[in-house]
């Protein structure tokens, strides 16, 4: 199939068993809502266009509580509005998927142009502790694959999973192949995680801290500490099963490029050009941005003289890379344009001279 990234997200969601979508139109994510509005009725699912992104995320939470795999899709400003709901989903361990197609901000910014402005917001935008998962594909094929994976991870770990995309990946068309995916169904949770109850089973779901019987207990230091540990450790403990990354020609490399999403596609070309010119350059692409592949990156970077982070913001992933490696330089692009490969090549060459 020849699909755009957004269309691939739709097909991935349907394959994964998504049967509820609630959203609000926003460029450049709108084709996902349009696609779900067309596709969901064919599989007896429900599409709801809500009054805003806050209503969208909360109705997705409601649908998930009612037993459906549920999703929303949005972009920058809408993603900010959804943070309140994501916080509840983290607190109450409600599986759901949010596709955030990044555009160039802040605020309305350049709605049709790409950026990577929500790398940090995808994990740190909400109030309170507790882990979530962020995936970032770099092609329509991966949009499909990782949408399925996002639903699987959401069910297995009972967390909201954020699939980051960007205006370029969302709209570029490439060949996409369907595969036999393993689908994780509701209740197939990782060891140590309690399966989510069904409606009618006496569910007690709340944003407020609960006692062991499920009754609100808003002053509850012991119980609260236990709960926060639970919703943090379930991801931390299983991080080796969750993390994904791509390594390209890292054997014996002296320099390392770290990049993700559409910027990493540019860096594939940059790497090839630099290797052709005789430099030993490796490429490391985090695919799970959260949990971040710290250890794997540290290992790859052990013998590296210098690493370069290429990202489309003023430096977000850069800070996480700095916690793994010593010599790191940021090559940012925050104009709304895709990074110019020649400019990156020149910058790297100048820097290592």
């Amino acid at each position: 199939m020849f699909l755009s990234g957004n269309e691939a997200c739709v097909e991935g969601a349907i394959l994964a068993g998504c049967r509820f979508f609630a959203g609000y139109p926003i460029t450049p994510s709108t084709e996902i809502a349009e696609g779900m509005a067309r596709r969901l009725p064919e599989v007896n699912g429900v599409y709801m266009q809500m009054e805003d992104e806050i209503a969208s995320i909360f109705s997705v939470i409601g649908a998930s509580i009612a037993g459906a795999k549920a999703m929303t899709a949005t972009s920058g400003p809408g993603f900010s509005l959804m943070q309140e709901g994501i916080s509840l989903a983290v607190m109450a361990e409600i599986p759901l998927v949010i596709v955030n197609v990044q555009r160039s901000g802040p605020s309305t910014g350049q709605p049709t142009l790409p950026s990577q402005q929500e790398i940090m917001q995808s994990r740190w935008g909400r109030h309170g502790d507790g882990e979530s998962i962020t995936l970032y594909p770099n092609s329509p094929q991966e949009c499909l694959d990782f949408t399925v994976e996002a639903f699987n991870l959401a069910e297995r770990y009972r967390v909201p999973v954020i699939l980051l995309s960007d205006a370029v990946i969302a709209h570029m068309r490439e060949n996409v192949c369907l595969r036999d995916f393993h689908i994780v169904e509701r209740g197939e949770v990782e060891d140590g995680i309690e399966p989510m109850g069904e409606l009618g089973s006496g569910l007690r779901i709340d944003g407020v801290s609960l006692d062991e019987t499920g009754f609100p207990k808003s002053v509850n230091p012991e119980g609260h500490r236990k709960h926060i540990s639970k919703i943090t450790n379930k991801i931390e403990k299983n991080r080796s099963k969750i993390i994904k990354f791509e390594k390209r020609c890292i054997e014996g490399c002296e320099y390392l490029i770290i990049s993700t999403g559409i910027a990493s596609r540019v860096c594939y070309y940059v790497q090839r050009r630099l290797i052709e010119e005789g430099m030993k350059v490796g490429l490391f692409r985090p695919i799970t941005i959260f949990p971040f592949p710290w250890e794997e990156l540290s290992k790859v970077g052990e013998e590296v003289e210098k690493a370069f982070v290429v990202e489309m913001n003023t430096g977000q992933m850069f800070h996480m890379v700095r916690e793994s490696l010593d010599e790191v330089e940021l090559i940012p692009e925050y104009s709304g344009k895709i990074p110019d490969p020649n400019a990156i090549i020149n910058k790297i060459k100048t820097s290592v001279r």
Partner: protein
């Protein structure tokens, strides 16, 4: 379908959690009892929802499924639940601030969609849980902790707002009108579509105290309100099919 055996209070309510958290003189206990009375003879499966605020806590005293999310967001959660499980009956407990301020957009759009839920909105003219701040329902001139010289803004008539937005069933009573309130909650559940029951309820701590009203004076105000001369009281719309 409503004439099942009458269920005992302990079958439906977490009586072991009593005394409840509501202040002396508050009407939330009356609303809890009225809701119990309304559903005690109904042979149906209920999901109880609440937002945030004193009235949202009413939901937590029910047995069965109790779901509370964030301030103002109970109706979007209900939208998701009803989309997937139209067979369950959803009762939403909300307050005037929860429903008409932070959740105001969700309220009018749920009414416009005629979402098949029953909303019990306890209107005490003030933000009670946070200590008595001005609400979109506070009468003009009344004092609150954030309008120490008296409220200068006009209040919402929430029932009329919801009616204009398309709700099927709309009724308004004070907590002193117990039997009609029970009947309206039952009728709201039986109505297909959006049912909105507004209950005017005193808040002695947040509202009465700021306006130098004793509990007796405050309840006298509600006796006056029950006559429906200041604000329309009764079944305001019964256009929904049951």
């Amino acid at each position: 379908m409503t004439n099942g055996d009458r269920k005992r209070m302990q079958d439906l309510i977490l009586v072991e959690r009593f005394p409840h958290i509501f202040c002396p003189g508050c009407g939330n206990g009356v609303v809890l009892k009225a809701t119990y009375e309304a559903i005690s003879t109904m042979d149906r499966e209920f999901v109880f929802l609440g937002g945030i605020g004193c009235s949202a806590r009413i939901a937590t005293y029910f047995r069965g499924d109790v779901i509370r999310g964030a301030h103002g967001r109970a109706l979007p959660i209900a939208t998701g639940i009803k989309s997937i499980r139209p067979d369950v009956d959803v009762i939403v407990f909300t307050g005037d601030g929860d429903a008409s301020a932070i959740g105001g957009n969700h309220l009018i759009h749920s009414a416009r969609r005629n979402l098949d839920v029953t909303v019990v909105c306890v209107n005490n003219f003030v933000y009670g849980m946070t200590g008595g701040q001005v609400a979109p329902t506070t009468p003009k001139g009344k004092k609150t902790s954030t309008t120490p010289e008296g409220n200068e803004e006009r209040p919402f008539d929430i029932s009329k707002l919801v009616l204009a937005a398309g709700a099927s069933y709309v009724a308004r009573w004070t907590v002193l009108q117990f039997k009609p309130l029970v009947r309206s909650i039952r009728r709201g559940i039986e109505t297909k579509g959006f049912s909105f029951i507004e209950v005017l309820s005193p808040c002695p701590v947040g509202f009465g105290r700021r306006n130098d009203m004793s509990i007796e004076e405050l309840w006298a105000m509600y006796r006056d309100l029950s006559r429906g001369e200041e604000i329309e009281i009764g079944e305001i719309s019964r256009r929904g099919e049951t």
